[in-house]
Amino acid sequence: MATEFHNLQELRHSPSLVTKVFIQRDYSEGTVCRFQAKFPSELDNRIERTLLEETVKTLNSYYAEAEKIGGQSYLEGCLACATAYIIFLCMETRYEKVLRKISGFIQEQNEKIYAPRGLLLTDPIERGMRVLEISVFEDRGSGGSSPSSTMSSGSSAR
């Protein structure tokens, strides 16, 4: 396992992005936010299967908690309706609170697990909750080998 990048700061200062792997949404249970637990083959030799699956499972549980319809959400909905939904402007909603937790969780996972392996998770909220994006950085430890699926060039300079 590559240990070239020890922390996020090193990733930031010496970036050499190779590719991005996308974990798509799992719609088998409807439109609730869930990500597929299928392990992408591109990450076979970069990270242990169980670690990524654990991350995805925890993320899914966070989203399930955010979107849970139960007694509390009914009360909140009725209260919001009674106030003509003005409380949405004043209060932080439950979903937003859970999104903060998710953001902290992803930050922590990046620091502890993914950055040391030259990977970086992007918070799904920044991709419209469509995908869980995993950036794969160059594995210098194995002599700068680059996988076959490198992003095509043509970056637009702004």
Binding site: R12, L120, R127
Partner: protein, 377 residues
């Protein structure tokens, strides 16, 4: 390129004045005069939307008949309070203006919320995502001379659902998402584009819309009832009637039926967890002879109503007020909330994204090429 984008989306050049002119417009002007000021994401938003209050308010580019809706409500209610309430308070009860006032405020607030809230717009796919999807489509071996149909089948609650590929947003649309051609955005749980409110009705503002039409039907029926009572009592007391009362009567008479009908229709949709779009297309009615049922329905009217109206409010996926990275490389939107780690995360994402930026050749002519290039590139 920068000047082109800036000029094209300058809100001061927009013809229609803002319905609720806020004091923040002054801030917008000041910001623009500073050289190289950090720009917010709403300024490079690719869809056909307009933004006010520095990105806090979002409306469709065509405001439709929203001014007419507002005008009708304000005029009718105004006439009611001025001409009918004094008479009815004198002869009946003083509760009437109170009830009328509460309903009027409710209607106005929910209307403005429906019009100015992000309906659930999905940000367009980043170039990396789009390339990844293209790769997957090509890998399925579509080698015919025709472009592949670009649909993906998923199983939702044991029901096969086809997801279509959106050529504008360059992604497979999630279930129940539809692309609104008027706003040029993919909207989650797309119901319909309502010209009366001048915005799409989708996942995030459906509850506001439903509350608006229900409270409007109550208000219209209430005013209609009060005006009729006023007429009847006036004839009884042989007192003079204003001609405005007749105006109110006519407006209320014609609107009460249509609004009541609309409320009834949407109550049916809410109870069966359907969208107008699905109902019109007959997605789950089994027209094609297949055994299809609505996979999103909870099979219980109460649970359906609660899941549509009382579910936790989802966040806005387009980060309207977030700042673009310093090197002007565009990113897709994130949540519209202030996170303490957002600054650090942005830097990391810039690092990752900076090397993946590329101009993706768009097969579909974008409404504004500048927008397309700046946002998707």
């Amino acid at each position: 390129m920068k000047n082109c984008e800036y000029q094209q989306i300058d809100p001061q050049a927009l013809p229609t004045p803002t319905p609720t002119p806020p004091p923040h417009h002054g801030n917008d002007t000041e910001k623009k005069k500073e050289p190289r000021r950090p720009r917010r994401k709403w300024e490079v938003f690719p869809g056909k939307n307009r933004f006010y209050c520095n990105g806090r308010i979002i409306v469709a580019r065509q405001s439709g008949v929203l001014p007419l809706t507002l005008g009708l409500i304000l005029v009718t209610s105004g006439l009611f309070f001025i001409f009918d309430c004094p008479f009815l308070v004198k002869h009946l009860t003083s509760c009437i203006p109170v009830i009328g006032g509460v309903l009027f405020v409710f209607v106005l607030i929910t209307l403005l919320q429906t019009s100015f809230t992000d309906p659930g717009i999905l940000p367009r796919a980043t170039p990396d995502e789009a390339a990844d999807i293209e790769k997957q489509i090509d890998n399925t071996g579509n080698t015919s001379y025709r472009p592949p149909p670009r649909t993906k089948e998923v199983l939702i609650n044991q029901q096969v659902v086809k997801l279509k590929y959106c050529f504008t947003c360059k992604m497979f649309r999630p279930p129940r998402t539809s692309h609104c051609s008027l706003c040029d955005n993919c909207v989650e749980r797309f119901d319909h584009h309502c010209p009366w409110v001048g915005n799409c009705v989708g996942k995030r503002n459906y509850r506001f819309f439903y509350t608006f039409i229900v409270s409007l039907s109550f208000l219209t029926a209430f005013i209609f009832g009060c005006v009729t009572t006023h007429l009847a009592l006036s004839m009884w007391f042989c007192s003079d009637l204003q001609s405005f009362t007749a105006v109110e009567l006519v407006i209320c008479f014609f609107s009460v039926w249509s609004i009541l009908g609309l409320s009834g229709f949407h109550t049916y949709l809410v109870a069966s967890n359907l969208t107008t779009n699905e109902d019109i297309k007959g997605s789950w009615s089994g027209k094609s002879g297949e055994d299809v049922t609505n996979p999103y329905s909870h099979k219980n009217i109460f649970i359906n109503c609660c899941s549509v109206l009382c579910a936790p409010m989802p966040p806005s996926l387009i980060d309207r007020r977030g700042f673009l990275p310093a090197d002007e490389s565009a990113q897709t939107g994130s949540a519209d909330i202030e996170l303490p780690t957002l600054a650090a995360k942005s830097e990391i994402n810039v690092v990752g994204a900076a090397f993946a930026l590329q101009k993706s050749p768009s097969p579909v002519p974008a409404p504004c090429d500048c927008h397309q290039n700046s946002f998707c590139a």
